[in-house]
């Protein structure tokens, strides 16, 4: 695989994880500071199964996503009844706990050495394909009653409950969905890098994701995708200045939050633009018909 293809594959897989942050923060208004832990769950499930069993990749992916959803469900159960700031704290704690657990259960997980020798089964086409499917499913989710419930909860929980929305249940749904997506990304990452270690999935990664979503525009799926892509490719572009990477990233986040508090895209979606353009084309035949007369 060429260099650019490999960079793009990694970026695409990371982008999936960032999409899960969009579901939580952008749609539902839940701050998860330990989301990377679910990536860890997915990666380790996949890693252990791929190295120690001969299950086909599809089965491993399904199991990994299931494990991500299950752990999100277990963490989410107590979390969704709490206020926003407490949710951030608890997820932060959970994230760090998972990393510590994997580090110390060395006879099962390989500890700080991680897991080696996972077969490389990812390529750019597969990664892009999965991302496309994911975006399709998420757009449908956003444009359904569930998406509107999430936005209603983000805007005003009390009023959402008064309309008959089961607030803890919808929050749990968002949490489980996000957990599944993040685990999927972790699982594909394991098949991509062939090597996993727990330290890569600490809270720093989760906080990075939060920054990406804010820069892109917390309420825009398109914005999340664009900024996720930029920030994932940035380290490669700035490879020569790798020492200063974090400074550049910090500067961009600060500038955006100061001058564009709604993020790059605000609430705009690419699909809005497509609709507008489609609208322009629809009107044209009527005008043409008028000309003929």
């Amino acid at each position: 695989m060429g260099y650019y293809a490999s960079v793009l594959t990694t970026a695409t897989i990371n982008l999936m994880a960032i999409l899960s942050m969009y579901v939580l923060m952008g749609l539902t208004g839940i701050f998860s500071m330990g989301q990377a832990a679910f990536m860890c769950v997915g990666a380790y499930t996949a890693g252990m199964l791929a190295v120690r069993t001969s299950l086909p990749m599809v089965v491993v992916v399904v199991i990994s996503v299931g494990m991500g959803m299950l752990s999100a469900f277990l963490v989410g159960l107590p979390v969704v009844k709490l206020r926003r700031d407490y949710i951030a704290l608890i997820t932060l704690g959970f994230g760090e706990a998972i990393v510590a657990l994997l580090n110390n259960l060395s006879n099962v997980t390989g500890g700080a050495n991680g897991i080696n020798g996972i077969p490389r089964k990812m390529n750019i086409y597969l990664a892009l394909g999965v991302l496309a499917v994911l975006i399709f499913l998420l757009l449908n989710f956003k444009n359904s009653k569930f998406g509107r419930h999430c936005i209603a909860i983000k805007n005003d929980e009390l009023s959402a409950a008064a309309m008959g929305i089961n607030v803890p249940r919808i929050k749990l749904l968002a949490f489980v969905l996000a957990g599944g997506i993040t685990a999927l990304s972790g699982c594909l990452m394991a098949y991509n890098t062939t090597f996993i270690e727990p330290m890569a999935y600490g809270s720093v990664k989760s906080i990075d994701w939060i920054c990406f979503v804010f820069v892109g525009g917390v309420s825009s799926l398109t914005g999340t995708l664009v900024s996720g892509l930029i920030f994932n490719l940035l380290p490669e572009v700035l490879r020569v200045f790798s020492l200063y990477r974090i400074i550049v990233q910090g500067a961009i986040v600060l500038l955006i939050i100061n001058f564009m508090p709604q993020g790059l895209f605000g609430e705009y979606e690419l699909s809005d633009l497509v609709k507008k353009v489609a609208g322009l084309f629809k009107k044209k035949p009527a005008v043409a018909g008028g000309d003929k007369q």
């Binding site: 359904s144 805007n155 009390l158 009023s159 959402a160 409950a161 008959g164 929305i165």
Partner: protein, 255 residues
Amino acid sequence: MNILEVTDLSINFGGVKAVQNVSMRAEKGSITSIIGPNGAGKTTFFNLVSGIYKPTSGKVMLDGEDITSLKQHEISHKGISRTFQNIRLFNQLSNLQNVQSALDARANYNVFEAVLGLPGKRKKDKENRERSRYFLDLVDLGDVAEERPNSLPYGKQRRLELARALASEPKLLMLDEPAAGLNPTEVEEFIELIRKIQGVFDLSILLIEHRLKVVHTLSNHIYVLNFGELLAEGNSEQIQANQEVIAAYMGEDED
């Protein structure tokens, strides 16, 4: 026949007895009002009935069914809908979607149908969109369906909240100071609107209001709260003639 029956409802916040042993009934198809000075416990009473607070003691019956221990969304599904004193709309949803939120909460497709965009889901969403448009038209907001609530003037936001509360077709509609902040013309329009809505849906309404004009024009029955306790009840004339009520509103007469 009573749509709502509240018996000895009380709640304490720490040592503060915000509502004490309040009993009341609202007759089916009627407009019942709760009035009282600021801090009398009117909104707290609403919050108790609609499930935001759990009462320390007492019982709430809706249409013969005990709803005291139910959660907020369960009470909504049982048939109580409400508006808020300080308008609480969903600012990132369009006005139409705000109304639709009540219908969405009653739509019966699951998450798989939703993410796959299956025909059943599309059909339900389309039906609900059309139904929401009907409620928007009812409060005369059909022309701003695609705009956002925060771009509407105050009076229209109040009407949007009313449409949203109506969309679930409740047995009991609870309005918390719906005429607050409206100018005199808007108040007239509001009274007309309530009459119109009552004609269409044969609704039972529970109303908190400070504008006595609204209260006396619309109410079939009035309850007066003061310091968390029931002070008086009766029809409009009886309340206007009640010396205790006048004292509570105007202050005691010194001589």
